[in-house]
Symmetry: C2
Subunit: 343 residues, 2 copies
């Protein structure tokens, strides 16, 4: 904050509040010269007070107990108070101006940028989420039978992850069979698995709020020549990216090369090659040729090249990946060879 020339900051994004304090209750965190304040409402006050420790130096207030003068006193003497312009709505922004009577300054996602490099404890949580995800995929290979619907399979995924230690889902599970797989963001339908189908999975879970993200395809019995050709292309992109990721890398050039590969084969590039993840499933950075990113040790990202053949099928391979001093590790570890199931 000192570097950004801020005398205080209003933190409204609940994920940033959780990151900084551990608090999961609704409220607003004020960082001000005299100390830290958490304004919550009466529904949460008991939970907040039992969670906070003296070391955290946070005083919790019930929003109903605060009047106009309390609000104006919080940042008294502050010249520039930061706010989260990427989270705060225009309506909230105007309300903050009225309520706190201060000069509000954009903070250019300082907390989000800080969140890009993970602490050991954060990495451990993601590792645990990835282990559950891998075990779930292994379970699916036996579980899936011809005739099951996409919805039934998606439900099994959610159940398995929750009963095996996940707090919840990291995002809406994708199970897309046959031609449904040609849409990267397919929603599970009542379509039943058929012999010779391709099945695209994209799922992940949370452990202590931290996400995993993972995609694979399974082939029911057979794989066509066209599917195999596309699979090998996607796999080669995936493998090439993984082998090049390491601390210090400027990712722009890497992804320019990948984009050229897509152009050479006349495949459409429908989404980026990956994204950061942590308490949010999509965090900084975005991995594409349009973003200037220099990788740092302990960043957590996804690698997820995909090719979609309209109305026919799609193939995406995705792992959650930890950036190291000399290279990168996948934290989801399921095999990436072409996998056929009996069905």
């Amino acid at each position: 904050m000192t570097a950004s020339n801020l005398d205080g900051m209003i933190i409204s994004n609940p994920v940033n509040i959780r990151y900084l304090t551990g608090l999961t209750s609704e409220g607003t965190l004020l960082i001000e010269p005299k100390g830290n304040i958490f304004i919550t409402d009466s529904r949460y006050l008991e939970a907040v007070n039992s969670f906070l420790t003296i070391d955290q130096e946070i005083v919790a207030y019930d929003i109903r107990s605060l009047n106009k003068y309390d609000y104006e006193s919080f940042f008294a003497g502050c010249e520039n108070v930061g706010f989260e312009e990427g989270y705060v709505t225009y309506e909230m922004y105007k309300a903050y101006l009225r309520t706190y009577q201060v000069n509000l300054v954009e903070t250019e996602r300082i907390i989000e940028l800080h969140r890009m490099v993970k602490e050991e404890e954060e990495i451990d949580n993601v590792k645990r989420a990835c282990m559950i995800t891998d075990r779930c995929f292994e379970h699916l290979k036996d579980f899936i039978k011809v005739g099951m619907t996409e919805k039934e399979i998606a439900y099994e995924i959610e159940k398995f992850m929750k009963l095996n230690g996940a707090d919840g889902l990291a995002f809406d599970t994708i199970v897309a069979t046959g031609p449904n797989s040609s849409m990267p963001h397919a929603i599970p339908t009542d379509r039943k698995v058929e012999p010779k189908d391709i099945i695209q999975f994209d799922f992940g879970c949370k452990v202590n709020g931290y996400c995993s993200d993972f995609s694979r395809v399974l082939f029911v019995g057979e794989i066509t020549e066209e599917e195999e050709r596309v699979y090998n292309f996607v796999f080669n992109e995936y493998d090439y990216i993984l082998k090049n990721l390491t601390e210090g890398l400027d990712t722009k050039e890497l992804f320019k090369k990948c984009e050229q590969d897509y152009k050479d084969k006349e495949f459409d590039l429908l989404h980026s090659f990956g994204h950061g993840l942590g308490l949010d499933i999509h965090e900084e950075p975005i991995l594409s040729s349009k973003h200037d990113i220099k990788l740092k040790k302990n960043m957590l990202i996804t690698v997820e090249p995909g090719v979609y053949v309209p109305s026919k099928f799609g193939i995406r391979i995705e792992d959650t990946v930890l950036i190291n001093k000399n290279g990168a590790n996948t934290l989801t570890k399921s095999g990436v060879a072409i996998c056929k199931i009996r069905g």
Copy 2:
């Protein structure tokens, strides 16, 4: 829009886009003099084009195909273009100004206010969600046994609703046993149901995107005198509110009276008496003595008085309610008499 003196509008809130068009894909809807435009990205384009019908008069664009001049042409000749100040972040607001080169005007939640009064089809979806919710509660009375954890019961609720026709949950399920029930927004824990426990439930599901919302308590074997006294107070508030709700009512006075009842008994009022619901679990209006609301036929709201005795227990009764010409109906229909289970 004509009444609001707008020449066009940028609609960014996905729930409003779904309400107006049925589209569930990510994107931005532009209402402009020449027609309607949906700007989406390549991941969704195939799904969007297969969903749209000619009657909808919406043209879908891939965001990558649009340049600076396209954006500036969309609202060419428009003086005032509305935006959703309660949804759009300050960062998006500034980007819209740069991109569309128009005068942006706050729209004071016109779409949200329009959403308050429901169409028949919307009410049918909520009714179906409520039926599933009621059936789930009936199932729980047999299912719950002493020794089960809050998490296990919450999981059963989710499973039951999804396997019985729900698209998904309307919000995070609350199962709070014993003293955990004293927090209105308790998160399910590993605490096990004990004899003589009180169990507070708050759950709901979605059907075609439309929500139900429902709270009840169950008593394991016994009920204490204090619990019975509080239950009867909450029940009387619930009953009084329900009997008075009807088209044309100004709710402010009704809830002032209820607030006075809380004061008379020295109970804290930790949350409002209810809220609108529909595609969102919390919609306009808010029901409290601080909000001037005139009820209209086919509004859908919750009625949910609750009393919380710190560190001891809490009791909330809640139904999803339809406002009629002469009165109001609960759409969740589970009984509200004190209910003891064997456990």
